[in-house]
Symmetry: C2
Subunit: 254 residues, 2 copies
């Protein structure tokens, strides 16, 4: 088992930001700057083509850390952020560019790429979680959540399906193709984001993935608008979802 090595540390806006490596997987751990108190951990999966410190990740982390006192960890998916890009990654980028230029649907390429990424990334996440739980401020028995849409859902659904340590999850913006069968194995509470006018994912496909989860408590949040228009207030809602399940008050939201 790999242990976790911190490689850099900084602080701003009430958040302590620590870069880490587990084996050759780079990640970031955000925590309250006020101190390393034992607190719940939320794992976040980033979207395709971005990375662990993308503004969407940092923004959600800020809400979870300073709003609820949680720890938040994100790792770079294979071929993303600080990780080497393979010939396969270059092929995917070229295929996407070609489809976009030709005005063809990118869905089939994205789905294949996401499924491939999940296969590599799920065991990495489990090893990173092992290592994170060695830290005294996280511990082996605290609550763990998962939050990721788009490629973050492609990775998160198979992860949560096999990982009993994760007891609440926020997913969304994905097709059911590779995920519905795995979603049927998931029984923990979930919140699921869907864009009602998604230009890539047919409405029925998004609803079918939500429907597949076996969770007794599951909530669909469907908003008018295209995929890129997922409202910012859904990030606040995700924070409240984790706060509700992990027994924490949200202190800094309107």
């Amino acid at each position: 088992m790999h242990s976790l090595q911190f490689t850099a540390e900084s602080s701003s806006n009430g958040m302590l930001e620590r870069d880490f490596l587990v084996g050759d997987v780079p990640g970031v751990l955000w925590s309250p700057a006020s101190g390393p108190d034992r607190a719940p951990l939320v794992l976040m999966g980033h979207g395709g083509g971005n990375h662990k410190k993308h503004p969407a990740m940092a923004g959600r982390a800020q809400r979870l850390v300073t709003g609820c006192g949680f720890h938040v960890a994100v790792i770079d998916a294979p071929g993303h952020g600080d990780r080497p890009r393979t010939a396969y990654d270059e092929q995917v980028s070229a295929a996407l560019a070609e489809a976009r230029a030709a005005g063809e649907p990118v869905g089939p390429i994205v789905k294949r790429h996401n499924a491939h990424t999940a296969e590599l990334n799920v065991p990495e996440w489990r090893a990173v979680l092992d290592a994170l739980q060695q830290l005294p401020e996280i511990g082996a028995d605290g609550p763990v959540g998962y939050f990721g849409v788009k490629m973050g859902t492609a990775v998160g659904v198979p992860l949560v399906a096999v990982e009993p340590r994760i007891t609440a999850a926020v997913f969304g913006l994905h097709w059911p193709d590779d995920l519905a069968e795995l979603a049927k194995q998931i029984t923990v509470p979930i919140e699921f984001d869907l864009q009602w006018d998604d230009e890539h994912i047919p409405r029925e496909a998004g609803l079918a993935l939500f429907d597949a989860f076996a969770s007794k408590e599951k909530t669909l949040h469907a908003n008018a608008g295209r995929q890129g228009e997922l409202p910012r207030f859904e990030a606040d809602s995700a924070v409240r979802f984790f706060a509700r399940h992990f027994g924490r008050a949200v202190t800094s939201q309107t």
Copy 2:
């Protein structure tokens, strides 16, 4: 035009409760006990078979009044609460009891009853709103919202469709039959509650009503469970929805 007459007044848990009459329509106005400050008004429509002070109404009012400082008004629908019951109302009750005893679907009876109630209740609501806006703590130009599910949606959709003073609304738990065409005229922000396993309203019917709203900002909250299992956290979500649109912070929620 009828003016508003207060008929009783009491205070508890930070809420001032004032019963009123507008013509022969009885209502209740809940306000912050701390003082009659100018604040947004939320109109709430109660469900079929209950009344203006049903615990569901008082509970939602408490959240809106002490959480956001809003005023909240509810009136008894025709045949409900303190209002006389007609031969028609008795027929509906008998038909419902008969259908339930026979294990037959109550949907067709409920839909007819709700449409009839809306026809009478919408003009009453408009007169009550006129009268409420004469009060200095409400005024003629402050924000007005509407919140009602089930029969509250059957009344609220036609009301909001014709009433430009209402600028944000929470609806849910209803069939599209009598409402979809009216929903197409509604463009204000809405939040819409649907129960994924509703035993009375087919999933496709609920989704069709949500789909019909012309609002640029509309959010569907669909939760696993039967109609009676609408989670309590959706009331908190409705409060945050109004707080967001009316520019108020929510102070007393977790």
